[in-house]
Symmetry: none
Subunit: 363 residues, 2 copies
């Protein structure tokens, strides 16, 4: 045993890791981008680049401006690795987890914890590209570079769901599912929620009701709107004015809508249903600036819950969801997919419960 040792700089270590991935056959066509690598290896982009240059020099791969890094010479061991790799699950979200709403983040966290216990790796993939009108290209690249055993779609929209259905990849939808999409899904019953909200407002004497919905309507938003209309149509009260307005989730849009409703019309609504707690904040603070008070001048209901609503005065009337319950249901479906079981087409619906708060007043 000699007293020498192989002194390995970080760059060399990273190069080793990359090399072994290439030889192992994990990356057959393309190597992840420099930024992705540096992110997942927890290493700066510079050291990553130096390591890659070692790889280039060895002729294992080559960089292509604007496209990525192509593998040139893959494996010395031609026999497929066929390693019984540990399972992995990919989660698709529109934004980095830190920017999701806490309840969504919490759900993912629970999944992560439980999967960890099963020895399964959960990897997050966040990009608005998956949520556009035509995510095909981005998704192809995604699933090519990340061969997960199961996918979980969060806050997913129709193109995303359709693509996964067509590709036949194993996946579970956390959130509402669109008509015609046949995939296992778990969701809260937003349709029932909104129907209930309208009914309650009507019973309290409100006749001019506005539903603040999202412009970019996800399946859940469509469900909600259906429930809203059902609630309106199902009433026997007369002279009910109910309408839906659309915002784009940003303060500016919500604020201008609110101003329009309350300053631009002679008969402002007496009650609002708001689809999203953030939007609730926007509406509430804009109303305050306009001089309207809750619930004296206008009643408010939030369709969703979020921890911060506990700190708003008056406490918002809202529907409360059990996120842990949701996570458990999702896990159940994921597990059955990982076990190679059939993808049950079940659309599990969880019914939230109503918390009255103090933001609704009899009219």
């Amino acid at each position: 045993m000699s007293l020498t040792f192989k002194r390995a700089s970080l760059v060399a270590q990273v190069a080793d890791a990359i090399r072994s991935q290439i030889h192992g056959g994990t990356w057959r066509e393309w190597i992840p981008s420099e930024r992705e690598l540096s992110n997942s290896l927890h290493v700066s982009r510079n050291t990553c680049r130096f390591a890659l240059h070692m790889i280039y020099r060895e002729g294992l791969a080559e960089p292509i401006q604007g496209r990525g890094i192509r593998v040139k010479r893959a494996t010395p061991a031609s026999g497929g690795p066929a390693v019984a790799t540990r399972h992995s699950v990919g989660v698709i979200i529109p934004e980095p987890i830190g920017r999701l709403r806490p309840s969504n983040a919490l759900m993912i966290e629970e999944l992560q914890a439980e999967l960890y216990d099963m020895g399964v790796r959960l990897q997050l993939h966040s990009s608005p590209a998956y949520y556009g009108g035509n995510p095909r290209h981005a998704l192809e690249k995604l699933v090519e570079k990340n061969p997960h055993d199961c996918w979980i779609l969060v806050l997913s929209q129709r193109p995303l769901q359709s693509w996964f259905m067509q590709r036949g990849l194993p996946c579970v939808i956390s959130g509402s599912i669109y008509d015609g999409v046949e995939l296992p899904s778990v969701d809260f019953d937003l349709r029932a929620v909104c129907r209930h909200a309208v009914g309650m407002l009507l019973a309290q004497g409100h006749r001019r009701i506005v539903f603040f919905n999202r412009q970019l309507r996800a399946a859940g938003d469509l469900d909600s709107e259906m429930g809203f209309h059902e609630g309106v149509r199902g009433t026997s009260y007369e002279q009910v004015e109910a309408r839906v307005v659309y915002h784009d989730d940003h303060l500016a849009s919500v604020a201008s809508l609110t101003k329009q409703l309350f300053k631009g019309s002679m008969k402002p609504p007496s009650a609002l249903i708001v689809a999203n707690p953030y939007c609730y904040l926007s509406v509430m603070s804009t109303l305050a600036r306009l001089g309207f008070r809750v619930p004296d001048d206008v009643s408010l209901i939030s369709r969703d819950d979020d921890p911060f609503l506990n700190h708003v005065d008056p406490e918002p009337a809202r529907y409360i969801y059990d996120v842990t319950h949701l996570a458990r249901k999702v896990m159940f479906l994921v597990r059955s997919l990982l076990d190679g079981g059939l993808a049950k087409r079940d659309a599990v619906r969880i019914v939230p419960h109503f918390s009255a708060g103090g933001s609704v007043r009899k009219q």
Copy 2:
């Protein structure tokens, strides 16, 4: 094949080399002197020394002043199957992660992800019992049943920190540290933040300023208050009225304080600094009910950031923290503890940056 790799510093590599020499039986009585080692390994004496300290901590050898380094135990862990025991890290938090503020939850999440990559298990332990005045009993039980290799204390208070210091358990404090506690810690510089906030309000012409602080003052709250007072004392403006009021984090308490300030006195404050985004919401919504407008009637500053503040109109002036940065610093300390490295007593301070928003107006 996973994309992880064991990141090894030079020190760790040297320690490995030394360890293998000991286990291989090359050195049976004495290890070469530090200077000899550093010479033959082509490594500076400092890195050599750090590596040796790891060896000392493992009980493989001991330094003897003036003589040399004696081998204590040559064989690898006696009997034991020499399991490369997977490390585990425990995180102590006051509430279940779903009820923490998003930024805290996010930080823990990042830790979890990174530790996962290192093959380290992160386990959460949440209970108010650890945060009481005398957590001794609960903590004894906790560490007995959960022998983690490192602990992370989040939102910790003095008794908790003191106990860990006395017990000498390896731990890192995420958040402010109390005077006299000598443990590695990472925190945002709240003192600087509050000093800056006061200075800015004074410069804008505000003369009656109130700081909403938490009754149960954690170290960070104390720091903030210090900064607040420093900012006030350091001014050359005259007739400044600055005071601190305390709430218990709940809406009721904040609301009654606000009413007291704005209805109970002839001269309500013209500007408020609020230590907590939830509290900011409470203050803001209570003010709205009282008929005060932001920023026309009163200016508001939030000491902390949270995603939902983006949706409040007007956008709150606040200080923005880079949670990822915090997580990375914590990870750094944790890693050095797991490696058996020195527990650096460094108190890392991260300075947030100010976002002006629209909730402050010249007086």
